[in-house]
Amino acid sequence: MERFVSLFVTGVAQGAVFAVVALGFLLIHKATGVINFAQGDLVTLGAYIAIWAATDLELPLLGAYAVAVAALAAVGVLIERFAYAPIRDRSIHVVVISTLGAALVIRAVIVLWRGTSPTRLRGPLGFEVVEVLGARIPKQNLLIIGVTAVCVAALWLLFHRTQFGRQVRALASDRMAAQMQGIRVARMSMLTFGLAGGLSALAGVLIAPTRAVTVDLGFGPMLYAFAASILGGMGSIGGVVVGALAIGLVQQLGGGYLSPDYAEVYPFVLMLLVIALRPQGVLGSEVRARL
């Protein structure tokens, strides 16, 4: 039982981080119709900027987190300006390669700036644990779950209760019609890239205290966030969050009860099955084509 509770909470916490990354994908995908393959390296960069602000600038931890989120929002806008805006009307492949190139640049900058040796980011709660049903749960995991819940709620409100959200949804449902109604496409894509950048930094500072920080920190979460988006059908916030939690749980429970060697494989097997059997996603209903 302790084992199950422990694996379950870790799975939910990991899933929560994947959800934050996946929400960034969702935002950009809704507003522009593309996927930003640099998201994973933005997560890494966010964690490194927080480490830099906390150690080199000696800011308090929350201040360092805020610096990371603000910096990454700016980086998101930069990526939009240099790697997406000039080629907005070209084929999807070009956009993917271009964001991939941006990812390489970010990765290389991190290596040049901080080197390749692993470092650590302190969590605000250190290594404290609480006992739940006999299982020792790191408080950081509970913090991750709490922050993600707040973040999801805020995004839901943003999507469904503000002018910005209405415009994003309009772009997602019919790009051309939305454009003809006077929605400023360029501004919206800058805003969503910026917001997604901030979200990746948040994911970075949430996940960094649970593991060693290397330049590969964000790669795994990005892949799992892809898987989560596919499970959720790339449609709604709820779908993506449920998909992300499922991915986190499958990874932890599969690793715990089947074989830890293949823990990283189970979520992808689930994802490939979803692509094979229900490509519109378990919870999604959208089938669209960009002609």
């Binding site: 492949h93 640049v105 097997v269």
Partner: protein
């Protein structure tokens, strides 16, 4: 080469029959001269393998030839049929491990056979599994596939080796001859590249190319005008992935050492660069791009640690500003020269009038 005469015969008649609009689809510089190009590459490989005498030079030559084969496969999958596959590097790994596994205690030919059969079979199974995915989902599925493949190479020790590291792989032997020297190896790899080029040229000269391009540019429209979309998509993916498998087999037996790191993300990025930098619009792009990717790091040693940064920036710059790549630059130069001649002729006509 006896096949070249048969192959070139219909070529002379073809451009005249083709409507002018269609002609622009094909790069003019290389229009219908694939077999000349293959012969030129073959001659170049022979000349280089005889001319180079240092082990280091042979190493570069081997890398160029292997990268070219991988790139040609990716050209079929990505450039021609527009399938965004991150899996090419994983298939190189699959071919490498399969050939080492099958050739242990046997001849190299068994390893080659295993690499071909296994990479083709796995590619087909995977492509069938994700056949309903569109662009992004396919890209993500192939990314997941290569992630899974790396973990399997590391963990499935009965197929690979503890930790996925294998040393002391014997050099290839065919027909009783062991290709041990750098020169022999270069000639063998060159022969494989020529085979790969010939097969690609066949695709280029058949309706397959036209259908693949139609499929790439608009799947729905291609399907409605009768392009066998499913067969095309699976066929090109399997063919291109098999190129990668063969290249993996050659890589393992040439270098004598493989580990999972050989097939990680860096290889995938190099493959992208090979095809995009060389020029995604032409079958010669990967050959040129491979030469650049292998040769440039040696020439640009002073950039050292900035290499990854430059590669990333180069990738963005190429797709944003030079979508034709190196081949595109060559073509632009050719067009510029011809336009110069054309302008002169026009002026002389004007003077006469």
């Amino acid at each position: 080469m006896p096949g070249s005469e048969v192959g070139t015969a219909p070529v002379a008649a073809e451009p005249a029959a083709r409507p002018a609009r269609d002609r622009d689809v094909r790069p003019p510089v290389y229009r219908q001269r694939q077999l000349h190009g293959v012969a030129a590459v073959a001659a170049l490989v022979v000349a280089l393998s005889l001319g180079v005498d240092s082990a280091f030079g042979h190493g570069l030559l081997h890398s160029w030839l292997i990268y070219s084969v991988v790139g040609l496969g990716f050209y079929l999958v990505f450039s021609l049929s527009g399938q965004f596959a991150f899996s090419q590097g994983a298939f190189v790994g699959l071919g490498a491990y399969a050939s080492v596994w099958a050739s242990e205690g046997r001849s190299f030919a068994w390893g080659l056979l295993a690499a071909v059969v296994l990479s083709a079979a796995v590619a087909l199974a995977f492509a069938v599994l994700v056949v309903r995915s569109d662009h992004f989902y396919f890209a993500i599925a192939t990314l997941a596939f290569s992630h899974i493949a790396l973990i399997v190479f590391r963990e499935l020790e009965s197929f690979t080796a503890p930790g996925g590291e294998i040393v002391g792989i014997p050099k290839p032997d065919l027909f009783g001859h062991r290709f041990a020297s750098g020169q022999d190896l270069a000639l063998l790899l060159g022969a494989f590249l020529v085979l790969a080029l010939l097969l690609t040229a066949l695709v280029e000269r058949s309706p397959l190319r036209r259908e693949a391009v139609a499929f790439r540019d608009n799947r729905q429209v291609a399907a409605t005008v009768g392009v066998p979309v499913l067969r095309l998509r699976l066929g090109m993916f399997v063919l291109g992935s098999t190129y990668a498998g063969v290249a993996g087999c050659l890589f393992a037996h040439t270098s004598g050492f493989i580990s999972t790191e050989s097939f990680a993300l860096e290889l995938g990025i190099d493959i992208f660069l090979v095809v995009l930098l060389g020029g995604a619009g032409s079958m010669w792009g990967p050959v040129l791009g491979a030469a650049f990717v292998v040769w440039a790091p040696e020439q640009l040693r002073f950039v050292g640690e900035y290499r990854a940064l430059i590669y990333g920036a180069l990738l963005v710059a190429v797709v944003v500003a030079f979508p034709g790549g190196l081949v595109g630059l060559v073509e632009a130069a050719g067009r510029w020269l011809r336009r110069g001649r054309g302008a002169v002729r026009l002026r002389s006509v004007g003077e006469r009038a």
